[in-house]
Assembly symmetry: none
Homo-oligomer: 407 residues x 2
Amino acid sequence: MNLDALYSELTLKTNAKLALVVLDGLGDLAIREQNNMTPLEAAVTPNLDALARDSAQGRMIPVAPGITPGSGPGHLGLFGYDPLEFQVGRGVIEALGLGMELKPGDVCARANFATLDSKGIVTDRRAGRIPTETCEKLCAMLSARVTKIGDTEVLIKAGKEHRFVVVFRGKDLEGPLTDADPNREGFVIPTVKPRDPENAKQRKMAQVIADFYKAAMPVISREKPANGFLMRGIAHQPHIPLFEDRYKLKPVALAVYPMYKGLAQLVGMKKIEGPQTIRELFERYLVEYDRFDFFFIHYKYTDKYGEDGNFAAKKKAIEDFDAVLPILLRKKPDVLAITGDHSTPCAAKGHSWHPQPVLLHSKLSGTDKLERFTETGANQGSLGVFKAKYLIRLMQANARMFDKFGA
Amino acid sequence: MNLDALYSELTLKTNAKLALVVLDGLGDLAIREQNNMTPLEAAVTPNLDALARDSAQGRMIPVAPGITPGSGPGHLGLFGYDPLEFQVGRGVIEALGLGMELKPGDVCARANFATLDSKGIVTDRRAGRIPTETCEKLCAMLSARVTKIGDTEVLIKAGKEHRFVVVFRGKDLEGPLTDADPNREGFVIPTVKPRDPENAKQRKMAQVIADFYKAAMPVISREKPANGFLMRGIAHQPHIPLFEDRYKLKPVALAVYPMYKGLAQLVGMKKIEGPQTIRELFERYLVEYDRFDFFFIHYKYTDKYGEDGNFAAKKKAIEDFDAVLPILLRKKPDVLAITGDHSTPCAAKGHSWHPQPVLLHSKLSGTDKLERFTETGANQGSLGVFKAKYLIRLMQANARMFDKFGA
């Protein structure tokens, strides 16, 4: 029997409030150079400690053993969608990261300006990393001159340095397509092709890209070093079952960065604009408490400093989080999960595959008799090591949202 | 999405050196009669202890909960091949155990001499457990008189006591077939049949076996008590994707016993001849360090003494191993895993289903803050309890051999 179907069948609507608090990239490694401590272990966290004494802990595998997820798969897993089943193209993720509002069916591409020689051969795939202002100027030129390809609307938005995103909005369009990128210098830009040659929508999309190149390339042909552009990860926004239908929970996203608001929107969460700090996010949670059942609250800095390999800053980011946690607890949710979307160990200076620690608190979580919330403590927790996609099911269970299975 | 396909897609070639050190049957049980200690816990292991302080630990399920594996499934799992998907016939395992060099497509059968009465009824399935020398003499007689069946080459090799192996090498042959063994005394030897009657290669193979019986039985008809023979586990060497293609690692097997060299060869590992002790295996590792990327190093005695139920000898075997471990560490591999292929508890006097402990050491393993490598410690490790087939994926991840999944 399909497990998701079983969960759906057993799901009961309740009045419970559930909060999923994500410290991005929270998980870390204890290594000798850090006195065998992780930032979470080294941080002073009186409020998390108090919570830990009445909570269950465990560790979560974001996707599969050894697989390091990007933010997309990391969050889809936390939202209960198997990241192997629901794959989101890189173009879509980039568009979300730039705060673009996508509609179902939109096809997105990551793009970057490049340098071509007189024969059209790519001589620099990043156009010498032009300044962001140049990129914005070029994107404005393209946006002004190329607004439509046939009946397909074209939306262009500049990113940092040489990067930008193109969104195609129209009828009967689908990805994924092959890349318009030779992936190394010394070759011409290849023509994109449907990944599935039998798919008529992919074939139409490939033609739209070809026509887009014809229209757009002349606009920047004199703008050396940015006299060309490459496109990758061309795919449409996938169909994802709505969060509210799937879990019988009315969800809201409280996040600062566009990427995470966008990922939440992909599954149909309501997006809230305004808050700029974790304190403001928690304060807004108090305001929105009665309007929603499920609160996704995202904190970025643990990941950011992990990526920098900055142990002290990651530790401090955790302490800053801990300091404002009591604001959330003023209206304590019935079920509270605190975790990461993956690990970002300082030693790795990037995302990793190491299972992230998770703390689950409710009247029915029990206590694992741990004095703190840490990676090493979580190893001994009652939740064990499990796939992240099950967290939301455990939260639902703790909210007594599942009927008994069988008599 | 198929997970193996995803792993392949994300795999990057690196210069990392990976070593998988297998103490056969390492896992054991702490029971009251042994002062609640396992041999690994009772052993004095200063070198493993030092490694454990900078390592991750966990326990591995060889095949599935409660399933006790033979050496074949145990090692295939460690090599990253799901033992339920890749099944190797007992005839093949026996042939490998006798050091026979198999070719793809070879059909192998376990055989043993038996006693038949004048009507052909089996009166002793083991021919009174004739001495090994008698078995060798009889096999030599058979080998001399039956070298071919039609265009199929026949290879016969004696094992211990009444046991021997027959390998059929020819065109269009396949297993599995039913057994030429009534499985109890008082019945005639049944005619073998294809497991799949639609399979022409199995039908041909069944005919070859029938013709082999016609040719071979007269050769030994006067050799009572060994005047007949039975054949079981008749199957061909399965197609297994090559280790090097699957993991982008150039592998070598360092083992003393033929069975383990043979299992490694099945997946395409290079076999090294010569070393006779674990010290010699580690010394050879140093010599071969630059020529390979993946080192499978096999130590037999933990299993042997577990099978004997000899706690003191198993403990001593672990201490002997520990004493020479520093030789391996002279050229420390980038990723080192130390584990068993299954448990062989002294209390069980045989293989068992209990998850074996595993230690994983790399710059990115982190430390679980455990002072020793033991079964009880491994229960608290960050790797949790996982299927053995994922170990190699974790090793690859620790070697940074996987690209990020999704953006």
